[in-house]
């Protein structure tokens, strides 16, 4: 009985610890969010959101546009490459294949490289050697490589988790591999692939270190889609505003931070909903 009581006590303590850590994590998150949002959100106004940038408005408009531009184009480059790579790894490569091992190693390595190192690399190759200068294009090239491993590994996981019986069903009807992949496997794996894309978007939106050296810190008065222009993203906007040391710009840095958080939140939310809908459609 004594043993039983001791075991029950220990179990209770463990349970409390686990609950505590769970609540702590959520608590920290909420604290951070409130810390930024409470200071930033009241400063957001139409001028700041959609106005022309100058040293008074410190408008984030052109940065928002560039951020979106970078997200879209980087995904446009990386998603097909990443998903195709995942398809190769899961559907085509033979087991124990040497190339596969090397590819996995490369993907793991890419995933681990710190963004500052990507920044250095982008600066050496795209900015200087290829002569793209500090430009949105250099930024996009760097980001595309940076998010590639995220896309590859999440797509690979998603494709792997598609039950083999779907493939058998399709092949059994005489469909080729390609058709099976595009008609059956990819649609089924979509929620997983999407969640990889969310992560990638989050990474791009929040990236600073890799972009300072590649897309530069310039800010344009009005939004542009010109790839050769040097233009900062929101995260760098925040960083630069916070570096200037003027009280006004510091508060606007918090406002920018709030926009960043709201964007990340919206992206997470909509994509989860979307993935949920696709998931439900497929098992309704």
């Amino acid at each position: 009985m004594d043993v039983l009581r001791r075991r029950k006590t220990i179990s209770l303590i463990l349970k409390l610890t686990v609950w505590f850590c769970g609540i702590l994590t959520v608590g920290i998150l909420i604290y951070i969010l409130l810390f930024i949002l409470l200071r930033g959100v009241p400063k957001i106004n139409m001028e700041f959101l959609f106005g022309e940038y100058n040293s008074d408005t410190l408008s984030a408009f052109s940065s928002v546009v560039t951020t979106i531009e970078m997200v879209i184009i980087s995904l446009f480059i990386s998603v097909p490459i990443g998903v195709f790579c995942a398809i190769y790894l899961t559907e085509y490569a033979k087991r124990g294949n040497k190339t596969v091992k090397v590819i996995r190693l490369a993907v793991d390595t890419l995933a681990g490289i710190p963004s500052i190192v990507f920044g250095l690399f982008g600066m050496i190759l795209f900015v200087k050697l290829l002569g793209f200068r500090a430009s949105v294009l250099s930024g996009i090239c760097t980001l595309s490589i940076m998010i590639l491993p995220l896309i590859i590994s999440s797509s690979e996981e998603a494709i792997k988790s598609v039950p083999d019986m779907y493939r058998e069903g399709s092949l059994g009807l005489g469909a080729g591999r390609l058709r099976t992949v595009f008609r059956i496997v990819l649609p089924t794996a979509m929620p997983g692939i999407l969640s990889g894309i969310i992560l990638a978007i989050g990474r791009i939106v929040g990236e600073t270190a890799a972009l300072i050296f590649t897309s530069g810190t310039n800010v344009l008065k009005n939004p542009t889609l010109d790839l050769m222009a040097s233009q900062r993203t929101l995260a760098i906007h925040m960083y630069m505003l916070a570096s200037e040391g003027l009280p006004h710009s510091k508060e606007m840095a918090f406002a920018t931070g709030s926009i960043l958080i709201i964007i990340v939140f919206l992206v997470n939310y909509t994509t989860t909903k979307l993935a949920g809908r696709i998931g439900r459609l497929s098992d309704e």
Binding site: Y31, L34, F35, L38, R39, N54, S55, R133, A134, I212, G216, T217, N218, V219, K221, A229, S230, M240, A242, S243, E244, G245, L246, P247, S249, K250
Partner: protein
């Protein structure tokens, strides 16, 4: 509804910082705050305060071990603002009520004192170009040295360095001017560009705020039209470039608002920054 952080937001202006600092403990170690090595402010300040010491043909920066180094004015301000025992240095233009700018050798850091030379902690803001300047660049440089341009310099609490500025009238030129360099010059530069644009709406700017040395190098290698520097040129740099003095900037020594000290001798500042004096009580 206000900021969740608890720091008081002191309201008293710089001129009357004589608050009785009841809980200031002079036995405490001084928190020495410096800028990063990229900064022109640091270069100038360490030179003037003889923190950089030349012996024969060696040069040694004697900055005390453990001094905080930040890559932005705001971080220096924030650090000193929060830390009662902090000391730092920033551009005179960035002084605000968040911190207290003290007298050096009993001279107040004001524009007039800098202009008259009484306050000796100052350095030039330079614009550098290479070879023959294009008409556009020349026109813009003329604007910065004109009455209109120098008015902006003065408005921003920098000291005009042009003896007899001329009237400027819009030239109607068009094109892009690429500027890179000092983060301290950048806010002023931004204002200048805005005013210039009002007169010459067809001119576009690209500006990278990435540090004085980077600006100078960019001008030397021709990738940018104008380099901004907040420190004097080195000899081998000066040999390759045209040098324009845009303004003179005082460097203010700042301490926490609760610090009773209002005045430091230059030797004391040097002693603090080189680690010979480590606590506030050692300073008379």
């Amino acid at each position: 509804k206000e900021q969740p952080s608890e720091q008081p937001q002191p309201q008293q202006p710089v001129e009357q910082p004589q608050q009785p600092a009841s809980n200031f403990d002079a036995d405490k170690d001084i928190t020495v705050v410096a800028r990063d090595a990229a900064s022109g402010t640091r270069g100038a300040f360490h030179e003037i305060m003889e923190i950089i010491q030349k012996e024969g043909d060696t040069t040694v920066d004697k900055l005390v071990v453990g001094a905080l180094e930040f890559d932005g004015t705001d971080k220096v301000i924030t650090a000193v603002e929060q830390d009662k025992y902090g000391i730092g240095y920033i551009s005179l233009g960035s002084v605000s009520e968040r911190i207290k700018a003290i007298e050096v050798n009993s001279v107040e850091p004001t524009i007039d004192n800098v202009k008259s030379g009484a306050y000796s902690v100052a350095r030039p803001f330079l614009l550098v170009t290479k070879g023959t300047e294009s008409d556009l660049v020349k026109d813009f440089l003329n604007f910065t040295e004109s009455i209109e341009g120098q008015k902006i310099v003065n408005d921003r609490n920098f000291i005009s360095a042009v003896d007899s500025p001329k009237e400027y009238t819009g030239s109607g030129l068009s094109g892009t001017i690429k500027v890179a360099g000092s983060t301290s010059v950048a806010p002023l530069m931004e204002k200048l560009q805005e005013e210039y644009n009002k007169l010459n709406p067809d001119v576009k700017f690209e500006m990278q705020a990435n540090g004085s040395s980077q600006g100078i190098n960019a001008a030397i290698d021709g990738s940018y039209d104008i380099g901004m520097s907040s420190r004097e040129l080195k000899d081998e740099e000066a040999a390759q470039l045209n040098r324009h003095v845009l303004a003179i900037d005082g460097i203010a020594v700042i301490v926490n608002n609760e610090n009773p000290t209002d005045d430091l001798a230059a030797e004391d500042i040097t002693a603090i920054y080189t680690g010979e004096k480590t606590a506030w009580f050692e300073i008379e």
